[in-house]
Amino acid sequence: MSFQGGWTGCVLRVDLTRGEVRREELDPRHARDYVGGRGIGARLLWDELDPQVDPLSPENLLVFATGPLTGTNASCGARYMVVTKGPLTGCITTSNSGGRWGPELKFAGYDLLVLEGRSSTPVYLWILDDRVELRPAEHLWGKGVFETEDEIRRETGVADCSIASIGPAGENTVLYAAIMNDKFRAAGRSGVGAVMGSKNLKAIAVRGTGGVRVADPGALMAAQWAQKEVLSKAPLTSEGLPAYGTLALMNVINEHGALPTRNYKEAQFEGAENISGEELAKTRLAANKACFACTIACGRVSNISNEGIGRYTLKTSPRNWHHATEGPEYENAWSLGADCGVDDLDAILKSNLICNDLGMDPISLGATIAATMELYEMGVLTDEQTGMPMPFGSGDALVAMTEATGYRRGFGNEIAQGSKRLGEKFGHPEVFMGVKGQEFPAYDPRALQGMGLGYATSNRGACHLRAYTVSAEVVGEPEPMDPRATEGKAQLTVDMQNISTAIDATGLCLFLTFGNTLSDLTPLVAAATGIAYTDDDLVRAGERIWNRERMWNLRAGIEPSEDKLPKRMLEDAIPAGPAKGEVNRLSEMLPEYYRARGWSDDGRPGAEKLADLGIG
């Protein structure tokens, strides 16, 4: 089997310890069976990485993986996936980003970039097609993402290169440090930025001058026109997301009584309107923005309001970006807002901007600040310990602790460890709201039963992007399902996990599923690669990848007993609002989920299932 298109067939491997660069051939069977991105990355970790490895040791691998549609003209073909062992969770982690970095890596001629070892001094990697070199980065160490990108552009003399970098949070191994690219796009979750920091790698700048060869250009053109026509006719992808971004969800989820508030103590936020997509559009939105080849453009470019200037100013901030910042997305506005009881949109924008510049995942940061606020209000933490009052609702505390965490200053050093370790250290592990060490995103699993199952079974810890049952439970697509019922949620979760995993592997963005079905996307993959994939083939690839990730986690010691939710979700009923009295009924769904997966009763893929999927 040889590569006809979609894949370049080339893996770039950089040994940071030795300063050596190698080019290797991508195994065509792995490409066919695992498609790309998340899939090939998971396969590579299975083959090469000891699951017991310390995530922040030189032995950990850091993989940047594109898919066969990354860099093509398929709408939303901008994604790359960072695959590594995550320091926040100890699980295999797969963290996805858009922008322009992934396409540039493909244009330079590489499907994957594999980083191993640890440089003795800070360096950055410069890739210009065949030219690959490690350059000193001592002068960049300590700088934020924005300044780092500007400086590297000056040094390379290539203004339109794309740069993935870490900020001080990654350098300081904040356990949920992100890798940022194009200043505002993030491979955000699970601490991939800390892994990069542990390798003394400040940035990867890349510019490719080639294109992406595809097997059947005519078929790809036809398929992408058809795909884009569907997106242009779906009201959400043609109007809703461009107008309000994902932040449109704030009011919707709140009205359902499913908006986690004050560290999940409540499920409706009285200040939701103030931090909603409607409010942002009315008062602060400068423009919307798209990633490479995207025809949706859900990204936000926002200003801090006139009222906020002077308090949380962008104009005088050394980190301002044309007096505006990108975001916030729904998840960020929730974690920095409702979860902390903060309804000050300017404080949220400022905190989000700092997260981008220092390189942190706002979900885990906001959730850990929320846990800190709960401990403070319990009287467990004092002003002396935190350095300032930390009540729920304090925008000042939110902004101050965001910066302190990125630099690991003061109590920020504790927040940098994530809320699981924070709760355990101060004797109250019950304040951790998450799964497998990773904090929940923005949907209360007591109000939306399916999300609880999705969180509990996610291979990278709590995540909304692995099985977005919100689509059926709230949005009502592809068909409405009662959010308070458990019936049917196990199969729904399995189906969504498999399909979303397959889409992650292609190099496309999951957001196109707000318009497209898998059947719109399969012809794109087939045309690009020359392999006659069917919908079933891709779903099966998703299942194969999911099981591979699961097996890797089992080898890492992440037992099925970790498929669980915090006691608060299982026993403490929602106190008020539309979902008053609800708890998550995970025990009703989990056995059915294992059966739907074809796993043993105790959640392990058996030999028969693995053989069926071709996993040896």
């Binding site: 009201p235 809703g240 107008a243 409607e278 099985a467 599923t513 318009g515 079905t517 719109d520």
Partner: protein
């Protein structure tokens, strides 16, 4: 009167963020919104506005006290004076989130 909260693009189409509606059920509540925002709303609210009775448009989402009318009595869901109603347009297609 039931308090009706409008979300997203529906606010500009109706010309208000919220409306008080003296309506016996959800269908009558929609009539109040149409009266306020104009007949153009009928194509957003109903699949076929001329049908008797018109059926809800596939994008129309209505909550009564936070509960979707899909799990209540649809457009015939009765409204009480203290009910809180939320109306928005979804517009999603495909298989959202995979």
């Amino acid at each position: 009167m039931a308090e009706v909260k409008l979300l997203g693009g529906l606010r500009s189409k109706v010309g208000s963020e919220s409306v008080k509606a003296d309506a016996a059920d959800v269908r009558a509540m929609l009539d109040v919104l149409i009266e306020k925002g104009g007949q153009a709303l009928t194509v957003l609210f109903f699949e076929d506005p001329q049908a008797k009775p018109p059926q809800p448009h596939r994008d129309l989402r209505i909550l009564v006290n936070g509960r979707s009318i899909a799990f209540l009595q649809g457009l015939e869901t009765p409204l009480e004076k203290r009910d809180k109603v939320t109306v928005h347009l979804s517009g999603a297609r495909g298989f959202p989130g995979g």
